[in-house]
Symmetry: C2
Subunit: 366 residues, 2 copies
C-alpha cells in the first residue's frame, strides 16, 4: 500500500493509496479512529456504486454505521445542504465522538468536511474520495466549505481529516468528462512544482487517458506528496499554499459566472491555467516553447465546454469577489518556467482582457 | 490598565480591562492588528450607545471602518443571521485581511466569531463585549457559534479572537436583569476554581449589585484569569475545559425547552448550578453548609423567572440532544467542595428528577 503522511503536528494524518482499498476500508479506519460510531455520508450516484461495500467493510471492523445521502453537484454545495446534515445528525443523536466519513467526489468531501468542522464545534472525519479531482486535490489538506450564491467556497474552514483513503479502482466508473477534468488538476502539480513529473505526464498521457492502474497509483501518489509538502509548510494559505491556486483565479470566476453549471471544476481550471500561462509569457518570463507544451497538453485532454460567450467584464466582477484578492488587486500565480511559480498582482485590465481573449481564441481552435 | 494574556502559542492574545477603554479602542487595536480595514458589527441597542464612540476612536487610529447592525437575542443567533453577514461582507468586498469587530453581548460575539471562523475560511476578529456575561465568559476562549432549532450552540467552531477589550463602564447601561444574570457566571468561577474568590463575592455582593467600578475591575480580571488558565491547558474542551460547563447541562436544556425566550443565559445557568450543587450533595460529597452558601448567594441575586411549569421529561430530552452528552450518558460537572470539581455521569433518571424538583421548590420559595 502506498502511503503519504501529511505532517501537521498533533493533526498529522495519512493518505492511503491502493487499488481495491474500498474493500478493506474498515480495518484501516479502525486502526486510526478510536471511536466506533460512524456516519457515512455520500451522494446517490456514488452510494449506488460503493455504499454497501464500504458499509460492510466498516461494520465488519466493528463500526456502528449510519448512512445519509446528500445531493451532489456544485449547486447543492451550499448552507442549505449543510443545515440538513446538522438536522439529521442531531436527530440521530450524534455526539462529539461520532466520526463522519465523506464518500464521493470533491463536492461531497467539501460539504462533509465543513459539517465536521462546525458541528458541535468540530467532530472527526475521514475522506474516501471517488473522483480523480478529489483523490489528488480536494480530499487532502483540510480546505472545507460551501459556496455562497455570490461566489465559490466563500464559506468554509481549515479543518483536517483524520485519514484519507484513495482507491484508484473507483476511477473506472467515472465518466470520461469527469475523469479528464481531474487530469487537469494533476497537470497543475507538474506545472507548479515538478518539471520531471510534467514531462512524465506528457509522455504517459495515453496510458493515463486509458486509466492504467499502475500509472494512476504513481500519479496520485506524486500529487498527494506535493500537496502534503506544501500544506505541511503552510496549512492556512498564508504564503506557499497559494501556489496550489495556479489557474484558479480565472477558473473560479468562470464557474461563478456560469452559476457552477457549465464547467466541471477541472475544466474551468484548465481555462485558468492556460490564461495564467499566457499571462506568464507576457509578465513572468515563461518562454514560448513552455507555453506551447502547456497548450498542447491542454488541447490533448480537451475538448472543453466553450467559454466564448462569457464577457471578460463578468469574469472580472466574479474575480473581485473571490478570496484570492488582496486589497483591490487581483492576485495571480504565474510560472517563470515549468515547475517554478511566482505570485504577482497589479495587472492592467487591458492586459488581462487581451490574455483572456487569446485564451478563448486558442481554445476554440485547439 | 489590567491585562490578562491567553497563552495559546501563535494564537495567544490579550484581554484588556479598563474603565473608559471604549474611548481608546482605536489605539489598543492598532497596536495589535496590522491591517486597517475593519467591519464593526453590533446590534441596534448597543449601536445606539457606543457605535459612534468606537467608530471615531478606530478611525482616529487609522482604521477604515464599515459598520453593520445585526439583530440581538438568542432567537436571532442562527444561520440565517450568519448568512446575512456573509452576504454583506461579500457585497462590501471584504477580504482575508479585513478584521471583524464584535461590539455587544454574548449573542453578538458568538455570531461574529462564527462568521470570522468561516468567512473565507477564517478572518481575524476582535471582541468588544458590553455585557457582564460577555466580559467574564463568552468573549474569551474562542467558542463561537449559533443555535440550531433543536439545540443551543450546536453549530460552531473553536476560533480565537486577536484581542478582547473590556470596558466595565459599559455595564452601567445594562438592565438590572441582564446585569444580575451575568453575576451568576461570575459566581460560577468561584465555585469551580477558587473558594477565596467565592468568599470575596459573598462579602461584596452589595457593592457588586451596585456596580462599583473598582470591584467590577477586580471581579472581571479574576474571572478572565481563571478562564485563560483553563483554556491555555485545554483549548478544545477535551478535558479540563469542561469544568466551565458547571451548571450548563441543565442550564442549556432549560433555555432550549423554553425556545431561548424565557431565561437570560445566566438565569438558566443559575438554575443549573443550583441543581448541580444539589446533585453534588447527593453524589459528590458536597456538604450541607456549602450547599446552603450556594443557595443563599443564588437567592440573594434572584428573583429568577419561574421554571415550575417545565416538565423534567422535556428537560431530559433537550439534554440528550446537547453537546455535553457522552455516548448515551448525561455528563455533569459536580462540586465535591466549593472550588473543586469532578466530572460524573451515569445518574438515574429518578435521581435527576428528584434533584430537579427540589431545585424548583427551593427557587419558588427562595
Amino acid at each position: 500500500m502506498e502511503m503519504v503522511r501529511v505532517e501537521l503536528g498533533s493533526r498529522s494524518y495519512e493518505i492511503l493509496i491502493e487499488p481495491g482499498l474500498m474493500e478493506r476500508i474498515g480495518s484501516v479506519t479502525a486502526d486510526r479512529i478510536p471511536e466506533r460510531r460512524l456516519f457515512l455520508i455520500t451522494n446517490p450516484v456514488v452510494g449506488d456504486l460503493y455504499l454497501e461495500q464500504v458499509r460492510q467493510s466498516l461494520e465488519s471492523a466493528g463500526f456502528d454505521v449510519t448512512h445519509l445521502l446528500v445531493p451532489d453537484g456544485e449547486p447543492a454545495k451550499n448552507l442549505h445542504t449543510v443545515e440538513n446534515i446538522y438536522t439529521y445528525l442531531i436527530a440521530q443523536k450524534a455526539d462529539r465522538r461520532s466520526t463522519l466519513a465523506a464518500l464521493g467526489g470533491g463536492v461531497t468531501g467539501d460539504i462533509v468536511g465543513f459539517v465536521a468542522a462546525t458541528f458541535l464545534r468540530g467532530v472527526p472525519y475521514i475522506q474516501i474520495p471517488t473522483t480523480l479531482l478529489a483523490q489528488v486535490d480536494s480530499s487532502v489538506g483540510g480546505k472545507t466549505g460551501v459556496n455562497h450564491s455570490l461566489g465559490k467556497n466563500l464559506i468554509g474552514a481549515f479543518y483536517q481529516p483524520r485519514l484519507v483513503c484513495v482507491d484508484p479502482n473507483t476511477l473506472r466508473t467515472l465518466s470520461e468528462r469527469e475523469y479528464r477534468a481531474g487530469l487537469f488538476e494533476v497537470i497543475k502539480y507538474g506545472l507548479i512544482c515538478d518539471e520531471d513529473f510534467f514531462a512524465y505526464l506528457e509522455s504517459h498521457l495515453d496510458a493515463l487517458k486509458e486509466r492504467n492502474p499502475a500509472d494512476l497509483v504513481r500519479v496520485i501518489h506524486r500529487c498527494c506528496e506535493i500537496k502534503a509538502e506544501v500544506i505541511a509548510q503552510d496549512e492556512r494559505e498564508g504564503g506557499l499554499r497559494q501556489i496550489l491556486n495556479f489557474g484558479h483565479t480565472i477558473g473560479h470566476a468562470l464557474e461563478a459566472a456560469t452559476d457552477y453549471e457549465r464547467f466541471k471544476h477541472g475544466e474551468a481550471v484548465a481555462y485558468g491555467m492556460l490564461a495564467a500561462a499566457r499571462l506568464s509569457r507576457e509578465a513572468a518570463g515563461l518562454d514560448e516553447s513552455a507555453l506551447n507544451r502547456i497548450r498542447n497538453i491542454t488541447f490533448h485532454l480537451g475538448p472543453l465546454p466553450s467559454a466564448a460567450d462569457i464577457s471578460f467584464g463578468d469574469l472580472l466582477e466574479a474575480m473581485q469577489r473571490d478570496k484570492k484578492r488582496r486589497d483591490d488587486q487581483l492576485v495571480f500565480v504565474l510560472l517563470p518556467s515549468i515547475g517554478q511559480t511566482k505570485i504577482l498582482s497589479g495587472f492592467s485590465e487591458e492586459l488581462l482582457t487581451r490574455v483572456w481573449l487569446q485564451t478563448i481564441a486558442d481554445m476554440e481552435q485547439g
